[in-house]
Amino acid sequence: MNNILVIGSPEARTIALRLFALGVIGLIIGSVAEPFTNAGNLLNILRQASLLFLIASGLTIVIIAGGLDLSIGANVSLSACLAATVIQSSGSLLAGAATALASGLAIGAMNALVICVLRVPAFIATYGMLWIVQGIAYWYMSGTIIHGFPSEVRYIGIGFTAGIPIPVYIMLAFLLLGTLFTQRTTWGRQIYAIGANPTAASLSGIPVNHRVALVYVISGAMSGLAALVFLARLNSAEADLGDSLMLQAVAAVLIGGTSLFGGTGTLAGTLLGCLVLTVVLNGMNLLSISASWQPIVTGAIVIASVLFDAIGRRNR
């Protein structure tokens, strides 16, 4: 079933197309913005994209299952703030990581509860959760910034091993793990089946509710993990840390060829989506285009990708 590796399969074609697009965008930006092709900047892009991938990978699995998780950005904010407090008071990386993960998992589990047990539609449940979690984060921090972490924590965000940033290794580990899960395990394939047609999946004996609950818990946990890497990279945590991430993650997943209508998509595609988006945003930065353009461009990318997806479906 590992379609990504089969040359000529639709998945492989989608990914080849994204790679090509990435190359073209990279060439254009590289030719107008001098510092773009610096080794330093390229590694920076890779690190940024890896961070985004951690959140977007969880979202990809949710969208494959036909759902949506709008709470991921707020999840990152709150988990990062909680973990930052624990790291500052205990000085322990392990305690901080456990806090971030536990907070992310708890928010994911709340989503799963509201969607699967209380039967609230996913988009509004996670949208409501966005405001609850964000409200708690702003209340908890009340305008303060937690700044300065021990070097072992910072290493996760800014360290290098063999010339490659640490977040890239984390990203690769989760890309591998996630691809194995989605492509090679029964549960993974069941998630695709649920996204493609929940009724058919349910009738063929798949425990739809359990699997749907699982994808929200995964998404929450990935946001928690991402929170740890984010605070390590920024060396600070504040309540609005994840505010712009939700839109970016949605854009990255959609650029990556995952259909919002469920049932198709790959994590490798999402990684390419993260790279494309990061290259574009980074290029705009280098060309000193105002940061106000970033939500405009990201929003336009979201609309454009879903437009192509919808038109493609109609013509099929």
Partner: protein, 314 residues
């Protein structure tokens, strides 16, 4: 629990209202007892003026949600309109030009939302999430390096004006409520709004075109965000790119708490009116008790999820 419902003998419409009305009553008693300055004339007027702005978003949001849609872009669009209004008024000196510009951008973004959703079947929350990003960015971009305060007396009149002893915003809200009620109950458009949510296939089979009707629902929402933007600009006497950030959530909350449902496409405007008052009172009361805006937002989030969970249990 359908059996329980029928044994009470309420008609569905009467049965829908009490939940929200009771909650409102409990809140009123609670805040009157705990917050000493809650029941003062000044505070009640403050609640009324807050509620008018929210109602202007919640009325069209009711239509949107009735069609099983959602519009996440309204708060960002409202903020963008305060900025555009301020820019046009400051550069041309003409308030009507400012209003015209706002309504035009409202129609434009509404039409973009509506056509993406109705023509291409793009899920509403994603289409409007995209336009939310665009509107947010535009508002920030346009307000860069610009002085957007001190709009002058005429621009403020829309908010602070009084006609026959009643503030203008209250008039606008009342007229809008009447307009939406008329649209819903007495026009073919209203019938198709109800049909779009309950059964858009039936509408199609009845020979009605879905696309223009559904698009119009989002255009209406855009126009109302623009009107609210003009009022808010008058109130804060300027433009602010984050003035109404997240206000769409308050509107969604008011509609949902008021008994309009995402899945079944039914609801009442009176329920929305109660919902708007409930949300405004909740925010105002928590504020008087010294709880910050972030706690208010979290409380509204819990309220929304609770309301939807209770509804899905019926």
């Amino acid at each position: 629990m359908p059996v329980l419902q029928t044994s009470f003998g309420f008609s569905p419409r009467v049965h829908e209202l009490p939940g929200c009305a009771w909650a409102l009553l409990i809140l009123l008693v609670l805040f009157a007892a705990t917050a000493s300055n809650f029941l003062t004339t000044g505070n009640l007027l403050n609640i009324a003026s807050q509620a008018t702005l929210l109602l202007l978003l919640a009325l069209p949001m009711t239509f949107v949600i009735m069609t099983e849609g959602l519009d996440l872009s309204l708060g960002a669009l409202l903020s963008l309109c305060t900025v555009i209004f301020a820019i046009v008024v400051k550069s041309s000196g003409s308030v009507s030009a400012g209003i015209l510009a706002c309504v035009m951008i409202g129609v434009l973004i509404g039409a973009l939302n509506g056509s993406l959703i109705s023509m291409l079947g793009i899920p509403p929350f994603v289409a409007t999430l995209g336009t939310m990003g665009i509107a947010t960015g535009l508002a920030l971009l346009l307000s860069e390096e610009r002085e957007l305060i001190e709009l002058g007396a005429t621009a403020q009149a829309a908010w602070s004006g009084i006609w026959m002893g009643i503030p203008l915003p209250v008039w606008i809200a009342a007229v809008s409520y009447g307009l939406f009620h008329f649209l819903l109950k007495h026009t073919r458009f209203g019938v198709s709004v109800i049909a779009l949510g309950g059964n858009s296939e039936a509408l199609r089979l009845a020979g009605k075109r879905v696309v223009p009707r559904l698009t119009l629902v989002y255009v209406l929402a855009g126009v109302y965000a623009a009107i609210a933007g003009v009022l808010l600009a008058g109130r804060i006497n300027g433009g602010n790119p984050t003035a109404a950030q997240g206000m769409e959530f308050d509107a969604i909350a008011a509609v949902v708490v008021g008994g309009t449902h995402f899945v079944k496409g039914r609801g009442t405007l009176f329920g929305t009116l109660l919902g708007v008052i409930l949300i405004t009172v909740l925010r105002n009361g928590l504020n008087l008790l010294g709880l910050t805006a972030s706690i208010q937002v979290a409380a509204i989030g819990i309220l929304v999820i609770a309301a939807l969970a209770m509804e899905s249990r019926r």
